[in-house]
Each structure stands twice: as C-alpha cells, then as structure tokens.
Amino acid sequence: MKAIKEKHSLAMRWCHWVNFPILTIMIWSGMLIYWANDEYKITLFGHTYVRFFPDWYYHLLHIPSRLAEGMAFHFLFMWFFTLNGIFYILYTVISGEWRDLVPNRHSFKEAFLVILHDLHIRKMAPLQNKYNAAQRIAYTAIIVMGVGSVITGLAIYKPAQFYYLTWLCGGYHFARIIHFALTLGYVFFFIVHVVQVILAGWNNFRSVVSGFEIVDEKPVSIIQTTPKDETTS
C-alpha cells in the first residue's frame, strides 16, 4: 500500500531553488572578475598541472574584458546569496531540521559504508532517516562552504574595513585563493549532486519540488540494511 511521506519542508525547497540560479550567477560573474587577472594555477616542482582556464573556454562563455560588468553583477547578487543563506540557516536551526542534516557521531563511519554501497561494492547501506550519512556530511559541508564564501568574500571586498575577517582568512591574497577554491568546490559538488539525483530517480527528485515522497507503508526492504543499536531514532 503506497502512501505519502512528507520529506522536504517548503522553506528548504524554496532556499534550494532560489540558491541554484543565484549561485550560478555568482560563479559566472566571479569568472568575469577572475579573467582580469588569470593567475591561479597548481604548480608542483616547477611543472604547472592545472591552469584555470584555457582560452577557448573563456571565449566560449564570452568572458573576456567584462571585469566591470562582472563586479556589478557580483556585488548585487551577493546580497541575495547571503540573505537566502541566512534565512536557510536560521530556519534550519529554529525548526529543528538541523537534526536531520548535521552529521552525528555515527556519520563519518557510516558515510564510508554509504559510499561503498553507492559504488556497488557493498550490498547493504546503513539505516537512515531523511538523509544518509554521506548526505549529512555533504549537505552540511556545502552550507559551511557558503558561509566561507561570504566571509572570504567580505574579507577581499572590504579588507580595510573588515581587516579582522581578512586576518582570519590568512590575509588578502590567501582569502582570495580560498574564495576561488570554494567555487571549485561548488562545481565539484554540483557534478556529484546531479549524478546522484539522476541515479536516485524521480521520486527523490520530485520531493525537492513538491515536498513528499511516495513510500510503501509496509516496506518490503529491497536494500538490506545493517542492524544498528537502538540508541538513535
């Protein structure tokens, strides 16, 4: 017998879908800014392994010579990014939903089992509530990264007025590198996230739009779960 099971609150869905285009614009306008001084690369022992980014990539996305425009977009959408993030964090803390999100003491051990399961190495996945252990870690990390982007962003936006933030981030130059690295992190997250969402299927995807999943009330477990002590849930 199938049934409706509530999964994602309206606030969570709102924040998720508002954030997606805003972050896209922030990354795009960030690249318009980065282009002006394209200097970050990964060099080890005198050999440059990665240079961001090749010229064809810049031209494909019409990035060159748009620094002023990039800054203007970046410094408008930073407000929406930050306000949406503050709203999400406040909501998650006050509503208690953080309990489903923040990793607990089992999460780091379990996340490894989840990864083994997802890679089809292990048949059994650990018991989970709303999110499995790997999701808890990833979804909490992405919020921490968002906070990091705002702090490093302020540190390089007003390094004289917010000198304590700049100091906290290891100075202007380093803060800018962190700000850039976090962006690479978002892109990496995005790729894994989209692949996982596709693999998880329609029922899961729909829940982030309409809020609910359809479940079997007396579930016949298809996935075998590892037994767990009764201390949680």
Partner: protein, 263 residues
C-alpha cells in the same frame, strides 16, 4: 462584531491517494514552473537592461549602477579612520613595483615646470612645488596595494599625508565638502574621492617609492597613494586637486566601474 460565517459543509468525497498525489504534484510543479519562468524573465530583463546615460558614471546597466550606489551607501557605514590597512616591514616590499597603466601620465612631460595646482573654493589657486611638499612632514607606508583586476603587491611609498597637506595649506573649508577630485596635468586621467576616504590617515601624496623619487612610469613627481581604494583611484602624476559637493569626474566610473571602489 461580525458573526463568524457558518460553515456549510458540503459533503465532499474524500480524495483518493492518487488524486491527492496528482493534486499536490500539479500545484507544486505549476508553482515551480511559474516562479522559474518569472526568475528567468527577471534575469533577461536585468541582463538586457539599457546602459545608464553617460555622465559622471557610465557604461553600466542602469539597475546595476543603482545597486552599486546603494551598496556603497551601506558599506560606507563601516568606514572608519580607525580601520587601517595592514602595514608590513620594509623588507617585504617589492623591489620591482608592478606597473599597469600610463593613462594620463605618458607623453612628453617637463618635471621642472610641474606645479601642484590646488583649486580653493574661494576661487584662489595655489601652485605648489615639489620641494615645498618635501618640506612637510614625510610619512612612509608599506602596504598591500590592491588592483581591481585582482592582483596585490606589497609596496613601499612615502610622501605627505593628505591630512597634513590639508592642515598646512589651511584647506579646512574645502574638506567640509563631500568630494575631492584629482586630475593629471594633461587631464587624461582623473579620479573622484569621497572626503572620508581622502581624509583617511593613510592617504598619501607620494613622491618616493622604495626610498627614491618616483620614477616616470609611477607618476613622477607626485602621485596619490590611497590604500582604502583600489589601484584605479591611485592617480599617477597629480596635476590639480579640487573640491566639490558633487562627484567629480572619474575615469573608470565612466567605464562601468563602481564610483566608490573602496576597500
């Protein structure tokens, strides 16, 4: 007091599970689609919005310029003379100082004929020689110079603090106005500064770099070093200084950059 409306319960059939699911899917996906389309429309509106009328500022989309100006007002609340840029030991200063642009400071130039012209609000014009400036108290600063393009470099400059300059030449009436404007002698490059930033204790009219007189490509004989602004406001080869309550013209603000460009 209004009487509460009596609920006339119509006998409705309980929705089946599938109906509930369909209904909720319909509502949420329609809302999702409408909001998504609205957001996309809003983005297209912004992205294709007309450029501002060229004036003191130019080259930016109208709504984005408005946002830059509003954002300036917000962040100016945090500005304080107590917030100073970090300074470094002399040994960390770059020996080869990065040079980006010569706009307004290129072409033939007779240093000996140079005078700093100060336009007072009385209409009086001062013509100050470099030696007169060198006779004023000298201040050094070794700080992380930040370019709007994204690079930064620790550099060593020295000269007269703008506040000392104001004190010596009795420009107090002038500094009660909202803005300072500076231009190169050929008027090819020009900047506008809000008065609080100009009067910041680390703002310097610099005549030395790495303990030597400024080289030609760094603005000989006098340039502005204003650590609370991006490099674009650090005008090379100052020709004239004036004061006003309106924003003076600014080279990069005319080309789409934020007028304030403060750090």
């Amino acid at each position: 007091m209004r009487q509460p409306v009596k609920k006339t319960k119509k006998l409705k059939k309980e929705l089946t599970l599938d109906q509930k699911i369909n209904r909720r899917n319909f509502i949420s996906f329609t809302t999702f689609g409408v909001l998504g389309a609205t957001a996309y429309g809003g983005w297209r509106w912004l992205y294709t919005s007309p450029l501002e009328m060229p004036g003191i500022t130019g080259g930016a989309h109208k709504p984005l310029r408005r946002a830059l100006n509003k954002t300036e007002l917000f962040f100016r609340r945090f500005f304080s003379n107590n917030n100073q840029v970090r300074t470094y030991p002399k040994s960390m200063a770059a020996k080869i100082v990065r040079h980006n642009s010569d706009i307004g400071a290129d072409g033939k130039f007779d240093v000996t004929a140079w005078r700093l012209q100060v336009n007072k609000i009385t209409g009086e014009k001062l013509a100050i020689t470099i030696d007169e400036l060198k006779a004023l108290p000298k201040t050094e600063i070794i700080f992380d110079f930040k370019c709007v393009e994204g690079w930064d470099q620790i550099q060593h400059w020295a000269g007269v603090r703008f506040i000392d300059f104001v004190e010596h030449y009795q420009l107090h009436d002038e500094t009660r106005l909202d803005y300072v404007g500076m231009e190169t002698p050929d008027k090819g490059y020009y900047i506008g500064l809000d008065m609080p930033s100009a009067m910041h204790p680390q703002t310097i009219l610099a005549y030395e770099m790495n303990d030597k007189p400024l080289p030609l490509n760094h603005g000989q004989p006098l340039r502005l070093i204003i650590p609370v602004k991006y490099g674009i406001k650090n005008l090379k080869r100052i020709g004239s200084i004036s004061f006003s309550n309106q924003r003076p013209r600014d080279y990069w603000a005319e080309l789409g950059y934020d007028y304030y460009s403060g750090l």
